[in-house]
């Protein structure tokens, strides 16, 4: 055990000593915050958009839409009469970015329910707003045609329902909104993905370094290959855990210092006061850590095997692709998972050991997972780890002493059988 400890210690100390560790410790949160802000900005779409409304008919629906949009904070509409060449000139304006787009309506709007919007950038928010406004105009026109008084229609449409969202998670109702838990789950999934990938690849390059410098020969003559692999995986895992701790502590620190920081920057201290970390229940944190550790063990032992069977960086980059793809499956499913965390698809992902390290924490955060299912997922992960580590250790054992060409699939199977 003393020997394994020496391996763990070296792996940890040498990595924490590198510039890159500290660069990512500091830049990680900065970048991450940047990405989130950027995404929010993107979905909101900045500022007021100017659009034109082209009315091809004579019933004045264009003017009504313009009027209805008058109350809008994000859209400013101008009605344009249809004349020859007007569409072309509007298209020109869109291309020269003087207006964002134009809406074409006809007299058949209330009967056929059709309109057209042309723009260079079809932002979701603009479309939603136009759709809502068009619906109101159509409803109003249709009711009027059946003799309903226009003020009554306006009165009927004036009220908007404010849906207060409460989440039932693990038997308790929380005030957390759907948006908040979505963001939390999303952030968790991305953190898990990045940490497993980055530190898994670290294990791989560390194995490769020992192989290419041939220091492996000295190590193998004093430790069993399995001890060596175990030490490496645990060492690299400890580094990534340490990285998480740094991120967590610095986030806490920044939040607790938000008022002085805002003051120093000359920003509004009151608005800084409202900034808080999302509340993460202890159980969620525990699930996150357990599946991070499990996922890390699973993937880094695969990466160790990849490092062992390659003899240089290029080969390793190629050979790691299948492993990376396997991890990508769960990454690409994040949106699907957060949209419908109780679908069969989501259930399947959280029981398969290769995807559960990301899928299960996401589903748990979204609140759609019972304790029984969680335990089943955990049990499957443990079985997966044992199986994969067993195979990886055998490939590692043979591979670390090999040089020359990369093994074929057939040779790999033979290594696993005979090692």
């Amino acid at each position: 055990m003393h020997k394994v400890w020496a391996i763990i210690r070296r792996e940890f100390v040498e990595r924490v000593r590198t510039k890159w560790f500290w660069v990512s410790a500091i830049l990680g949160p900065v970048l991450f915050a940047g990405i989130i802000v950027f995404q929010i900005m993107q979905s909101v779409g900045g500022g007021v958009r100017n659009i034109a409304i082209v009315d091809t008919g004579s019933l004045g629906y264009g003017a009504q839409i313009g009027e209805a949009l008058g109350a809008s904070r994000t859209l400013r509409a101008k009605t344009v009469k249809l004349s020859p060449g007007v569409l072309d000139s509007l298209t020109g304006l869109v291309e020269s970015k003087q207006i964002n787009g134009y809406l074409i309506v006809s007299d058949s709007l209330p009967t056929e329910g059709k309109a057209e919007y042309r723009a260079s950038n079809l932002s979701l928010q603009t479309i939603e707003e136009l759709q809502r406004t068009l619906n109101r105009v159509v409803v109003k026109a249709r009711l009027q045609s059946k003799g309903v008084n226009p003020p009554v229609v306006d009165w009927a449409q004036a009220l908007r329902v404010n849906l207060d969202q409460k989440k039932i998670a693990h038997g308790r109702t929380t005030t957390e909104s759907a948006g908040e838990s979505f963001i939390l789950a999303y952030v968790m999934a991305i953190l898990l993905f990045m940490a497993i990938l980055l530190y898994g690849v670290n294990v791989m390059s560390s194995v490769l370094e020992e192989k290419t410098t041939r220091i492996i020969e000295v190590l193998v003559s004093s430790l069993r290959p399995f001890q060596l692999m175990l030490g490496k995986v645990i060492g690299a895992g400890a580094v990534s855990f340490f990285q998480f701790v740094i991120w967590g502590v610095s986030a806490r620190l920044l939040i607790s210092l938000r008022v002085p920081i805002a003051r120093a920057l000359g920003a509004d201290t009151a608005s800084a006061q409202t900034m808080t970390l999302p509340h993460i229940p202890f159980a969620t944190l525990a699930v996150f850590m357990a599946f991070f550790l499990g996922g890390f063990l699973l993937y880094s032992s695969m990466f160790a095997a990849v490092g062992a069977m390659s003899s240089n960086e290029q080969e390793a980059r190629q050979a790691q692709q299948p492993v990376t793809y396997l991890l990508m499956i769960s990454y690409l499913s994040i949106i699907g998972l957060t949209n419908d965390p109780s679908s069969t698809f989501a259930r399947t992902l959280s029981i398969v050991p290769f995807t559960s390290p990301i899928a299960t924490p996401v589903r748990w955060t979204a609140g759609s997972m019972g304790t029984g299912e969680l335990l089943a997922s955990l049990a499957m992960l443990v079985i997966g780890i044992l199986g994969v580590t067993w195979i990886a250790a055998r490939i590692y054992r043979v591979g670390i002493l090999m040089t020359g060409k990369r093994p074929t699939m057939k040779e790999l199977v033979r290594w696993v059988r005979t090692a």
Binding site: A6, R10, E210, R214, V220, L401, G404
Partner: protein, 324 residues
């Protein structure tokens, strides 16, 4: 006490090629043992089997009387592999401490010993530098230290002197001799016969995975050498070649240009050769009756075979791949 190293009819095959073929040898305690052979003879494979890096296909390795390779005895064995390598980005002292810890030496002890050895081999100023800042020769010395830092009873060195300049090579040889004096056992492989001749108490010559001869240096010389004469010229060789070609006097010759080693023919008188050389007009600076050099014995034993192996590139590269 059992011999520290016993290799008993050990065979290792790689992809259809037999690297080591039923090889047996035993290294008694407290001596320097040389494992000699041409490139690709199976020296490194044999050592790797002793070190538990490879498992033999058949046969057994016994270390300190117990079946099994080096791993369970790693605290008592120092190993310098043929292919050298250290962590390039680590500090010299840290590498040494780590490698000693991996063999079970406590951290504090390892630090002290590493410092002592670095001082001794003239690397004291480099202890906090990165390994990659060191010259190749210095790196080799660091690796040599890593092999002996934990004060092992048995040291196994695979081609320890290759790539070292004469001064550093001498430093290492002195250390090896000192170890033997302290009652430790040294096993080393080499294809440089001069080193073997200077250092070895016993030796084993192998080629193509098979043992050709083993025993003490004196025994090997006695059984495999004839009567030898070493001749060195001082400028003009005259018609010495005629004398050398006289099969009544000279059975075999190794001509080095300014120096030659002659094996006398049966019944030939060395004095007669001297007379013939002098009358041939050669100017001699040396004429010496000698036992054959290890080099001569080695070339006699493995020469033709070694030459064949080197001359057929296909064979050589297949072997290279297989060895991995």
């Amino acid at each position: 006490m059992a011999d520290p190293v016993i290799v008993d009819r050990v065979t290792k095959r790689f992809a259809g090629h037999t690297a080591v073929d039923a090889l047996s040898l035993s290294v008694p305690s407290g001596i320097i043992y040389g494992l000699l052979g041409p490139n690709g003879a199976g020296k490194t494979t044999t050592i790797r089997m002793i070190m538990d890096i490879y498992e033999p296909d058949s046969g057994v390795v016994r270390l300190f009387g117990q079946v099994g390779g080096g791993r369970q005895h790693s605290a008592h064995i120092g190993y310098l592999p043929e292919e050298r390598g250290l962590y390039p980005k680590m500090r010299v002292l840290d590498v040494l401490v780590f490698l000693a810890e991996a063999k079970g030496v406590p951290r504090r002890v390892a630090r002290e010993k590493a410092s002592t050895w670095l001082d001794r081999l003239g690397l004291a100023d480099w202890r906090m530098r990165k390994v990659s800042d060191l010259s190749k020769g210095m790196q080799q010395k660091v690796q040599f230290i890593s092999a002996i830092l934990h004060d092992p009873d048995l040291i196994i060195l695979d081609e320890p002197f290759s790539g070292l300049d004469p001064v550093n090579s001498q430093v290492l040889r002195d250390t090896v001799v000192e170890y033997r004096r302290a009652g430790k056992t040294v096993l080393f492989s080499t294809h440089i016969m001069e080193h073997a001749e200077q250092l070895c108490d016993r030796l084993c010559i192998i080629a193509r995975g098979k043992k050709l001869v083993d025993g003490s240096l004196a025994e090997v010389k006695q059984t495999h050498g004839g009567r030898h004469v070493i001749v060195a010229f001082d400028g003009s060789q005259g018609s010495a070649q005629q004398v050398f070609n006289d099969r009544r006097l000279v059975a075999k010759i190794q001509d080095f240009g300014q120096q030659a080693e002659l094996e006398l023919a049966d019944g030939a008188d060395p004095q007669e050769i001297l007379r013939a050389l002098v009358s041939s007009g050669a100017r001699l600076s040396r004429f010496e009756l000698a036992s054959p050099s290890l080099h001569k014995i080695f070339v006699d034993l493995v020469g033709p075979e070694a030459a064949t192996a080197a001359a057929v590139p296909g064979v050589a590269s297949a072997r290279e791949g297989a060895r991995a």
